[in-house]
């Protein structure tokens, strides 16, 4: 049962990724990416990271990609404004051939790990409580740094998109 769920989710993740890379229209790419991201969220749930599962959906699917879609629609991109990518297929094929050794390397590197059951844990592993304890005990400074980063990103975005005399 778990295997079937895993395979389905993996298929959707890969299909979404493939669709994202190959689609001509950015809007199709973004919609494919959502499929991939939701499938990954499902995989997180399989790995009993339930809080991360929700965060993935809320932040990635609910906010980031929505924002991306919003911007794509907002710009109202026409066919002629899309870059001409005549050698797309060629590049994709060459790139995938080049990347085969890389993949083999990774698989080789990890295949030495001893096998271990990754079933869903019932003892609150990945729940929000455990998560919070680890986050605020071990990772407090990175957490605060991230918040500063988010704030500066917010300010930066506002400054960029503002209509002023330099870039109106």
């Amino acid at each position: 049962m778990i295997d079937i769920i895993f395979l389905t989710l993996a298929f959707f993740a890969l299909a979404g990724g493939y669709g994202m890379v190959t689609c001509k229209q950015p809007i199709h790419s973004a919609l494919s990416l959502i499929v991939s991201i939701l499938a990954l969220a499902g995989l997180f749930a399989l790995l009993s990271a339930s809080f991360l599962f929700m965060v993935q959906i809320i932040v990635y699917a609910g906010a980031i990609i929505t924002l991306l879609l919003f911007i794509i629609m907002f710009l109202n991109i026409k066919e002629e404004n899309l870059p001409k990518e005549d050698d797309k297929t060629k590049l994709l094929i060459i790139g995938s051939i080049v990347l085969i050794p890389f993949n083999i390397l990774i698989i080789k590197a990890f295949s030495t790990l001893p096998s271990k059951s990754l079933g869903i844990k019932e003892d609150g592993f990945g729940s929000i409580k455990d998560f919070g304890e680890v986050l605020f005990n071990n990772w407090l400074i990175p957490f605060e740094l991230i918040s500063i980063l988010l704030l500066s990103a917010l300010v930066g975005a506002v400054v960029y998109a503002r209509k002023d005399k330099y870039n109106g």
Partner: protein, 105 residues
């Protein structure tokens, strides 16, 4: 199959490869951005699966921090795109090479 860590690693590496492919093969700047997001997700998957493997919550925290970084990245990147697109009327990453030219601007 889902019990073995290798399956997750293979999936993550494939997704990461797809991300790299998108970055090198595509010119559309939106798709390049999405490819980067996909790579981040692949890394997240490795973190989470390894965290599950070693039964450590730290990996999940790192994954969440990555998601937060991605959110920050989205905000800055998208506002940049809006400004650039309004100036150049194109999404071609080759167009945004003002700094490489001598007679810039």
């Amino acid at each position: 199959m889902a019990d073995s860590i290798l399956a997750y690693i293979i999936l993550a590496s494939l997704l990461f490869s797809l991300g790299i492919l998108g970055v090198i093969a595509r010119k559309n700047i939106f798709i390049i951005y999405m490819s980067i997001e996909l790579m981040l997700n692949a890394v997240n998957l490795i973190f989470v699966s390894m965290g599950r493997y070693y039964e450590s919550m730290n990996a999940q925290v790192i994954a969440m921090l990555i998601i937060a970084v991605a959110a920050a990245e989205a905000a800055v990147f998208l506002s940049m795109i809006v400004v650039l697109y309004k100036q150049k009327k194109s999404l071609d990453s080759d167009v945004f090479n003002v700094l490489s030219q001598k007679e810039a601007l």
